[in-house]
């Protein structure tokens, strides 16, 4: 039976980008189906009835939802190359912890910067910078969060880089000034084809965020 891999996708979503990066890291051929989130496809609603969100990976007809879950699934289903995790349980636990940190702290903070204004936005900038400094300390002098190899935490975090232009413009601050090491890590990741092919240009995201702000704020 021919293998089929479909990704229900949305171009500016940093969560969808994670799935794209992971699939490309493994050299998996996939079909990306762009969703209109104001008019969700029957396939999306059927494949993710609980959350009705993207990304959804449909592998041989079976759906996997939630981006970090999708990335872990991709690692296990195509385990022959480019492992995303170290082999020891403690290393795995550390990787899961930091991806969870990105999900809990970094993700909420960044939304406030481009999706809110006034006090809420200012709080978002403060929380974002705090989260960035914690992540930078965790990265230390390693080339990647996983050490010598690009891995799970790198995949979880790098996709937000496509949004840095938007954060800086609407939050009115410089991420590089706050965290030069993190920017260096971002650029290192962007040299990987799996990453550069999966992230949209920062200018396109800035325009997208500007549009959102015009329509919602």
């Amino acid at each position: 039976m021919a293998s089929s891999t479909i990704l229900l996708d949305y171009w500016p979503s940093m969560f969808c980008m994670r799935a794209r990066v992971a699939l490309r890291e493994k050299g998996v051929e996939f079909e990306a189906k762009e969703e209109d989130l104001t008019n969700k496809s029957p396939l999306l609603l059927q494949s993710n009835p609980i959350h009705k969100k993207v990304p959804v990976l449909i592998h041989n007809g079976k759906p996997v939802c939630e981006s970090l879950n999708v990335v872990q699934y991709i690692d296990e289903a195509w385990s022959d190359k480019n492992p995303f995790f170290p082999s020891d349980p403690y290393g795995k636990a550390q990787a899961r912890f930091w991806a969870d940190f990105v999900e809990k702290k970094f993700s909420d903070a960044q939304f406030k910067i481009w999706g809110k204004k006034g006090e809420e936005q200012a709080a978002g900038v403060k929380e974002f910078i705090e989260a960035v400094k914690i992540l930078e300390a965790e990265l230390g002098d390693k080339p990647y969060f996983g050490g010598d190899s690009f891995g799970y935490v790198d995949i979880a975090l790098i996709t937000f880089y496509s949004w840095f232009g938007a954060y800086e413009k609407f939050g009115n601050f410089s991420i590089e000034a706050e965290s030069p090491k993190l920017i260096a890590w971002c650029k290192r990741c962007m040299e990987k084809e799996s990453v550069s092919k999966s992230l949209p240009d920062q200018e396109k995201i800035v325009a997208y965020a500007a549009d959102f702000r015009k329509n919602n704020l």
Binding site: I50, H59, K62, V64, C65, E66, N69, V70, Q72, Y73, E76, A77, P89, Y90, K92, A93, R96, F97, D100, F101, I134
Partner: protein
Amino acid sequence: MANEVILLDFWPSMFGMRTRIALREKGVDFEYREENLRDKSPLLLQMNPVHKKIPVLIHNGKPVCESSIQVQYIDESWSHKNPILPSDPYQRAQARFWVDFIDKKMYEAQRKVWASKGEEQETGKKEFIELLKILESELGDKPYFGGDDFGYVDIGLIGFYTWFPGYEKYGNFSIEAECPKLIAWAKRCMQRESVAKSLPDSEKVTQFIADLRKAFGVE
């Protein structure tokens, strides 16, 4: 080297309960240390500087934080018996999805049931019952969420069962009336020694909720 396992925990925490169950499923000897959350120990603050929360699992001096991560770590470190996650990647993804669902939705929803009143509580109750029905539907006619064997999702959810009488008392509803299959599942889980030993008495939890309501001025 001897295995030294310490668990920093708080007795009514449904998250701490997950880790206790997982350790007992694997037959791991561990030292349980009760934390006073209003006066956190230096060890807790040192081992979980990022979140400063319990539970924290300390294995041979190295900390693992976040309950679902701890359960996965325990499964992988003591892989010789009672596997907690299935081996098939798709089934593993399904198990992770449901614990993620519980983590994202259950805590906030259940909190509204006992920590609020009036309209906010009514909305919270409605959401909470909806969530339980979704979980009950996922369980279906299986003995456990994973199928024939007790596993990751069962461990992820069962701790909330000790809080059920409290929800029922302050929310003024019957969970068994709404979700009889889920209650049957919970009773099945409670027959396992690892679960029975790891969960506090519901009456103690209900009293704890009463104390919290007073402290928050809900009463």
